[in-house]
Symmetry: C3
Subunit: 138 residues, 3 copies
Amino acid sequence: MTVRNSKFQINTKGYTDIIDITHKVKNEVYKYGLKDAIVHVYVAGSTVSLTTIEYEPGLIKDFPEIMDKLVPASDFYHHDDTWHDGNGHSHIRASIIGNSVSIPLVDGALQIGTWQQVVLIDFDNKPRSRTVTLQVLD
Amino acid sequence: MTVRNSKFQINTKGYTDIIDITHKVKNEVYKYGLKDAIVHVYVAGSTVSLTTIEYEPGLIKDFPEIMDKLVPASDFYHHDDTWHDGNGHSHIRASIIGNSVSIPLVDGALQIGTWQQVVLIDFDNKPRSRTVTLQVLD
Amino acid sequence: MTVRNSKFQINTKGYTDIIDITHKVKNEVYKYGLKDAIVHVYVAGSTVSLTTIEYEPGLIKDFPEIMDKLVPASDFYHHDDTWHDGNGHSHIRASIIGNSVSIPLVDGALQIGTWQQVVLIDFDNKPRSRTVTLQVLD
């Protein structure tokens, strides 16, 4: 097997900012010219997530609204007793959603739906710079 | 390393239909006669998920009820302003649950609990045909 | 490719007990002396999860509180009609959070944040012994 690692940076606005990184992922993957592989997209950090969603204006509003209903930014979190940084909800949201997606490459094509994008979601309560790590294994 | 890809189809009823695909996964994996490997089970699409659950009649009722409490089908979603297809909740649920599971194969045995099944959950609001991609890497 | 499997046991108290397993994961991974690899951490079972979180006393209280708000232990679950073991909420929580994390190893360093730990969360309603399976693929 070969493990091919690459990284790229994403600047976010925080506050459940949802950023489509599909093109960056595809560019990195397709440059290797492989046929069959597994693509692992990963972001380090405890207030940021990766998942997939249909990236259209409606859902980009719906997703933050649902997250704020489930894990409200306005609630009290014990995390604030430790750090006083007001982002307890960011941590909990990130732990629920997770921070990687793994997508098969089959016959040279990334197996992602037409109406499905790979997104980075920054739950922190300030702008951040995030490093996405991409691994292509074949 | 070898990447072994295979695919199979699953017809669903939609509406958080939960389908046990453990036997299909095991059949595909065990036919290779491998000892140690990683098994990646994946479904493309933005209204469908893969996870594991104890597949028994009670939980098969509980899981959709909880999902409808957390992300109600009857709520308004901005997604409807874009597509008018009434499945905003389906998208949000799928983004939360995720669309792949990775299971170790150790000494020829898939490391899944006795009371644990790999399930496809179709959150869409109509019957669908879904393609599951299976990758076995060793 | 080489698939390196190892296992270790974790004893839990149940009731959304959150246990930091980062050191155990790092010890297993770093003993191989590899440069680039993918690390897959997995736990079998339908009432237990793996995720990452900043392991500090505040969040270790917040996470169980949020889970009990979203999927309350005190609610009725149809699962009880089948087994009468009172842990329907444990199963649902585990299916939502998932049971594995995959972390890149790049230039000999596990790509995990300074304020981010790999945790096992036992949602069952009694103490359990859990087996974590670790796969390092390069």
